[in-house]
Amino acid sequence: MKKSIYMDYAATTFVRQEVLDEILPYFKDYYSNPSSLYSFAEDSKKAIKLARQRVASVINSKEEEIYFTSGGSESDNWAIKGIAFANKDKGNHIITSQIEHHAVLNAAKFLEKNGFTVTYLPVDSDGFIKLEDLRNAITDKTILVSIMFANNEIGTIEPISEIGKLCKEKGVYFHTDAVQVVGHLPIDVESMNIDLLSMSGHKFYGPKGVGVLYVKKGVKIENLIHGGAQEKGKRASTENVPGIVGLGKAIEIAQSEQNFEIKRLTALRDKLIDGILNKVSNTKLNGPTGNLRLPNNVNISFLGVEGETLLFDLDDAGVFVSTGSACASGSLEPSHVLLSIGLSHELAHGSIRLTLGLNTTEEDVDYVLEILPKIIEKRRAMSPIWSE
């Protein structure tokens, strides 16, 4: 039988069976609009409340600080534009990093076109921002700092607690894009001094098209989606009840197995990294090692081979990965993240990302370690920029 090994869990995950079971009745049976007053709407109202409680308990927030959105991108856009528009009387300066997801970067660029100035902090060769840079960047015009919790391409976990503390000291709102972290690592918005946090259901075995923005009580934020009074008037639109239910169930299960999965995936990750680096010459691990790397993230550059080539060769062998460089790209520009950590264009073009998850086994890792070196060899053999 042809192999089918999914190693792109950072791109999206399947919806797990327990989650799907909990979702299903809300399509046809408890289908009411939760804003309705009649008794039939009680079920959908309660379902949303339960989901909100589950999310709040996992990140240690209050229930009423949880707002459901349509995904990580909306949450990021809302946080950044919502803070900007609501606080423009206080200042027009925003700080973020060069390695943010495009949802953050492009929201920031939109604001630059509309009267705001944005500082994009550089990162070091492992992808970490420097606290000193952040401290120096904050001015009396700064209203928001948005630094991702962990990077989606190279797995770098930023010093969130320290950033939170600094922002608190300076009286500046702190938003973090935790899309790659929620469900996978412990988060405590209280002790970490996080004011706003984005998550996305489909990154932790929940459904696509549903996310959360946590907004600390008292934070002044303008709507992104104006309209009805849903979500206490802060995010309009008839609630996506099945999606919200699914996200709530998924985060609860993820939390319950988190410690176990962190250990299991870290071991698999390190076996995969070490295996590749040992078996293939002229490679480079992108991002840090150890505890400051996401437990499921492997990102490696191969000199003399282009990433998309590897992706398709692995696909032929039944392994699904993504390129570290911008996917589906016309590929003149490689990943902004890889360039920001100082990779040459060549190395940046030659990277792939393998991200592990629930169904990943040691056999899967062994299989990749068996086939990948052969693939590299084949492609390097025909590469004009490779000579051994």
């Binding site: 950072a10 999206t12 790209s329 590929s331 025909m382 590469s383 004009p384 490779w386």
Partner: protein, 142 residues
Amino acid sequence: MYSEKVMDHFRNPRNVGIISDADGIGEVGNPRCGDIMKVYIKVKDNIIEDVKYETYGCASAIASSSIASELIKGKTLEEAWKITNKAVAEALDGLPPIKMHCSVLAEEAIHKAINDYRKSHNLELWEERTHAEVIKEHQCNN
């Protein structure tokens, strides 16, 4: 995303390699841009007797060089010169719009190789097209 033909040539690229005593060599692309094509031709009686290439680049760049090598093999230099990037793409049953520039690389590499041959034989150089394709940006980033 790619046609079967692209994937076939990507999986089993034809005529891969180098010709150590090539009569013409054309190299285009830039590792900065993630693509380099190096085409070697052997010419006899104005006919491309043999062609080999090395390609670094995406799947469609590899497929483009492979099919292009087949298209020009056995052709006169004039015939080979007339093979446009469009012909390359068509021979592959099409390329996605953002990947058309890979076929441009193939056209250019062949032109360079032919002019390299003409130069070393003190023949007048033919006028190469400028990189006509607009390369669209496109990102995804999950």
